[in-house]
């Protein structure tokens, strides 16, 4: 197995993902640098969310490892793994807010557990995180009382609760109207610039991929491995891989420049 890149925030080496004997993806190798906005893209059902779950330790790789800053995360366990996990923020596809708690409580619970802040400070912070995603005033609502899009945004607020170094977002834009989706992109860019966070985002929304990503991996269902990695804007111009180009061109075989003529 190749050695991980010591300078990279996240390195994945020789990762094989499988459900029992069914192999989803083979031999994935890529690096996410600090302050990257890294997009995991690919057709539906190709294992994008599964890759994300491998990167945050919810699923164990069949082979290979995930490294954080050169340290092996896959073989770490117990307290050591918790140390990494505390530096993550994760937003799940459905929001996954704890349904028995209000939006504010969803955000304060991790803070109560992992910080020494006073209750009043925690309350202010929760208000602030909700305001960041445009949900001020909804502190005391339960997840079931607000819309799906709001659940999603509250999920992002919760992911931000502990000011994580790495934020994992699973399809943040899906199911949002174009305007909210655009606002979300802006939010991600702002957060990256002001907090210096690294983002790993699962998405297949082209507009948002080109707007925010500076690095990416394309999972190819046909070959069961990565089709390409790199900046999606460059991939569009340069990639040799036909599937990747088709994906980034919405299935148009011609390049976009010639397309306009």
């Amino acid at each position: 197995m190749e050695q991980p890149d010591k300078d990279a925030k996240i390195s994945v080496r020789g990762l094989k993902m499988a459900f029992g004997s069914f192999v989803v993806m083979n031999d994935l190798n890529f690096d996410v640098q600090k302050e990257d906005i890294f997009v995991i893209m690919g057709g539906s059902g190709c294992g994008k969310s599964t890759l994300l779950r491998h990167m945050i330790g919810l699923k164990e790789p069949a082979e290979g490892s995930v490294f954080y800053e050169g340290e092996n995360f896959t073989t770490a366990d117990g307290e050591e793994r918790l140390k990494y996990i505390r530096r993550f923020g994760v937003m799940y596809q459905s929001g996954a807010l704890w349904s028995s708690m209000t939006l504010a409580e969803n955000i304060t619970m991790p803070m109560e557990e992992h910080t020494d802040l006073k209750p009043a400070e925690i309350k202010d912070l929760a208000y602030y995180k909700l305001a960041l995603v445009g949900l001020s005033g909804y502190e005391d609502y339960y997840p079931a009382q607000v819309s799906g899009g709001m659940n999603k945004r509250a999920g992002i607020a919760r992911a931000l609760a502990l000011d994580p170094e790495v934020l994992f977002l699973d399809e943040p834009g899906a199911g949002l109207d174009p305007l909210s989706s655009q606002r979300l992109d802006e939010l991600i860019l702002r957060l990256r610039d002001s907090l210096g966070s690294t983002f790993v985002i699962v998405t297949h929304e082209l507009a948002s991929i080109f707007a925010i990503a500076n690095n990416s991996i394309f999972l190819d269902t046909e070959t069961r491995t990565q089709g390409a990695t790199g900046d999606p804007k460059e991939l569009l111009e340069q990639t040799e891989n036909e599937t990747v180009r088709l994906f980034l061109n919405r299935g148009e075989t011609m390049k976009p420049e010639t397309n306009h003529e």
Binding site: F22, I56, L58, Y92, A96, S99, S100, M109, P110, E113
Partner: protein, 373 residues
């Protein structure tokens, strides 16, 4: 595609013909829903070299489905669609654009004879193992709690206490009262024929405190609380809420299972004592109807029901509480990610906890007999 027709549709027909070395499939008639397609001259090859659709009338989804079925049996990579009308060809091309991922298709496991026996044995042993593992995890988690290394939200705990304590009182009252009455009635039928009606008090008292009180409470709690645990935790699982707990560094076991186990272990004995009292009250009422004054009933009952007897049921209730909580939480945690899976988890939780209660009760019956209590 619907055309006005004067007559009823022609019967659809597919005829295989060998046309100078080429296999041609002649399609004719109206391939519409409700018609029975006649296939003639079945070919060894499932897919023709060309089609002839000159006499093809109307068609709906029946025809592409028929072709697709043949194609799957033929197992050809790039089938020729020559001779098909344009619209049908378009539909076929659409259906064939993304090749089938054969390995993604679920193989239906043929479960027959010895194989099915083997599968059942494996699943049973896995189920037993998972119960043992879960019980072990519960013990470890409890130890962590008492050494201050595990915690849960106290609010969750109080909510469960409320739900499996006070909120369960009405149904427990009703059932135990009726059980007490039934015991008294049934007992009286036999005892009255010996002129020994008074002993109804002994019967009701002893049966309630040793068996019926705790048993009925446990069964009510399985259906009520055990099922609720499974459904709640199961839907949290389906909604990725448990994953969210994990990635925030919370141990889902400590957070979800522990408060529920503790709450039931605390509430079951209290509910059992309450059920015993209500049951005896029911018996007493029937006693009054058949001529045993309540004071006499009470005094007679106390001759057999002493503290030892009364504590047996309460003792058992603690174990039943653990069994109910563990079955409910285990099924919830194991539940899959869909609403149907949550339903199945709930069913399994109730069945498992009632089975566990009955088995535990038999074990206790044997132990108490040996100990001669």
């Amino acid at each position: 595609m619907e055309k006005k027709r004067d007559s009823s549709p022609d019967n659809p027909k597919a005829v295989w013909k060998d046309d100078g070395g080429r296999v041609v499939l002649f399609l004719s008639g109206d391939w519409v829903r409700g018609s029975e397609a006649a296939v003639e001259g079945v070919s060894e090859r499932k897919w023709p070299d060309a089609f002839n659709a000159e006499n093809l009338g109307d068609f709906d989804s029946i025809l592409p489905a028929f072709l697709l079925r043949n194609l799957r049996e033929a197992d050809i990579k790039e089938p020729g669609l020559e001779g098909l009308p344009d619209n049908l060809r378009g539909l076929m091309e659409l259906a064939l654009r993304v090749p089938e991922r054969s390995e993604a298709k679920q193989r239906d496991d043929e479960a027959r004879g010895l194989r099915s026996l083997g599968l059942v044995s494996i699943s049973v042993s896995q189920a037993v193992l998972s119960v043992l593992e879960f019980t072990g995890d519960t013990v470890r988690s409890t130890l962590r709690f008492f050494t201050g290394r595990a915690k849960f939200r106290s609010q969750d705990f109080w909510e469960v206490i409320q739900d499996c304590g006070a909120s369960a009182l009405p149904i427990v009252s009703l059932i135990s009262f009726l059980i007490g009455m039934i015991l008294a009635f049934v007992g009286n039928v036999q005892l009255a024929s010996f002129g020994a009606s008074l002993y109804v008090a002994d019967l009701v008292g002893l049966a309630m405190v040793r068996e019926m009180g705790v048993m009925m409470t446990a069964i009510i709690m399985s259906g009520r609380t055990g099922a609720a645990f499974a459904a709640h935790i199961g839907s949290m699982n389906a909604n990725e809420e448990i994953d969210a707990l994990k990635t925030f560094g919370f141990n889902p076991f400590d957070y979800l299972v522990l408060p529920r186990v503790f709450a039931l272990v605390l509430m079951m004995p209290l509910l059992t004592v309450y059920a015993n009292m209500i049951g005896i009250l029911g018996g007493m009422m029937v006693g009054a109807m058949v001529g045993i004054p309540p004071a006499l009933f009470w005094a007679e009952m106390l001759t057999v029901v002493d503290l030892t007897q009364a504590s047996l049921g309460v003792f058992k209730s603690v174990f039943f509480g653990v069994a109910i909580a563990i079955s409910g939480c285990l099924q919830g945690m194991k539940s899959g990610g869909s609403s149907a899976a949550v339903g199945r988890a709930t069913t399994r939780a109730v069945v498992a906890s009632i089975t566990a209660i009955i088995i535990l009760d038999s074990v206790f019956a044997i132990i108490f007999t040996i100990l001669d209590i």
